[in-house]
Symmetry: C2
Subunit: 208 residues, 2 copies
DNA sequence: GGCGTATTTAATAAGTATATTAAACAAGAT
DNA sequence: ATCTTGTTTAATATACTTATTAAATACGCC
């Protein structure tokens, strides 16, 4: 095997196993076995399991956050929301284990919460995005094009509906014994329903 | 200590630790230490860690499912939905770790999914509840009192919004450094917002 | 070919986890 | 007082975990 090729393979395999089984559920021996190399090699390249996991976790958090990029706002608020939510849904659809992976570790590990806090809260760029979205929303509310809502609530609503779709997907798949095609169909339906729900929440009532 | 009192104390302590740290994150030694007894005693009463966990997990699943009891339907559909969702929210508010506990284990452990499947899917009583709710909803849709929606989608929407509130609560608390009072306030707000969202999804548009 | 460096492995230390066993202990019955 | 039964502990077997170390291997370079 090409030198340093194993280093990459260890990282990829670790990522796959950690996503599947979490930190506690995956041993460096498991990783080595899956790679087909000696267990010491995992430590040679990454020194500790914690460091290996941490590298992967941070990268996944970044990936998760960075996807929340601001799309161009051309004045069509409903198109804007639709675009953002669909993009996020499609992104998570290609990374189905991501919501669980992130929540799992944050819920189980208080240290990790502290570690992540600064990245999330004190991220200048994210704050700016939040404030621009906030401004857009509050403007639309003033204009009367959408019903009053807190920006934070809207974001949490969207996150809840989208993320929970993928958090519960293993149950939906296994319990209802869906084929891969049926799963895709189910996800398409959910995406539509989520958009409907969010838009209903925003659309002002027609005055008679 | 009163004989057999320890048996109960082990169960309670195990429940607390499993809820906090999950199956993998809790050892029988941890449990014994927290109880203040010998580690062998845990095995004396429950034989294996798996059996101990399984007993607790099943009981929690039951608790989670059983709370979905049918409230009397007196024809006021919005009151009906409001009552159901609020009851569930309040229930989870007194069992904040429950959603994570359940999802965590179902996501990590395929065996557990199989184990649970029959309880959830082939539960006669739950099926009857599902069908009565389905009937009520489809009737209301025909009457035009609510917008068309799949029963399954409505349930998943409610579950997503309510459960995700508690799945993300540790992050909200830690990241935004909320005091217990502020957390309660936040939860009250979320409950209102969730009700608003769901009712908006259901209310038919006013025709001009 | 031989040297130096990076990669990989075997061996192992040190610790922890689950589970069992046998012995100690407690308390009521005879 | 001893026997019985249930409870609790100490000791331990077995296996597995993380991490380190020293030796083996591979590879480029002189």
């Amino acid at each position: 095997m090409n030198p340093t090729e194993l280093e990459k393979k260890i990282l990829d395999t670790a990522e796959r196993l950690f996503l599947e089984k979490g930190f506690n559920g995956t041993s460096t021996t498991d990783i080595a076995r899956a790679v087909g190399c000696n267990q010491a090699l995992v430590h040679y390249y990454y020194r500790t399991k914690e460091k290996l996991f941490s590298d992967i976790y941070m990268q996944k958090i970044e990936q998760f956050l960075n996807y929340a990029n601001l799309y161009k706002y051309d004045g069509d608020f409903y198109g804007f929301v639709n675009q953002m939510v669909c993009a996020y849904f499609d992104f998570l659809n290609t990374h189905r284990q991501l919501p669980f992976f992130i929540i799992n570790e944050l819920a189980l590990n208080k240290d990790r919460r502290c570690q992540i806090k600064d990245i999330v809260v004190q991220n200048q760029q994210k704050q700016e995005i939040y404030y621009s979205v906030d401004k857009i929303i509050q403007d639309e509310i003033k204009k009367g094009t959408i019903k009053p809502i807190e920006t934070f609530d809207l974001l949490i609503n969207c996150l809840s509906l989208v993320a929970m779709t993928f958090l519960t997907l293993p149950m939906v798949t296994d319990f209802l014994q869906k084929t891969p095609e049926q799963v895709d169909q189910y996800l398409e339906n959910r995406k539509k329903e989520i958009m409907t729900s969010i838009l209903c929440r925003l659309k002002p009532e027609q005055t008679i």
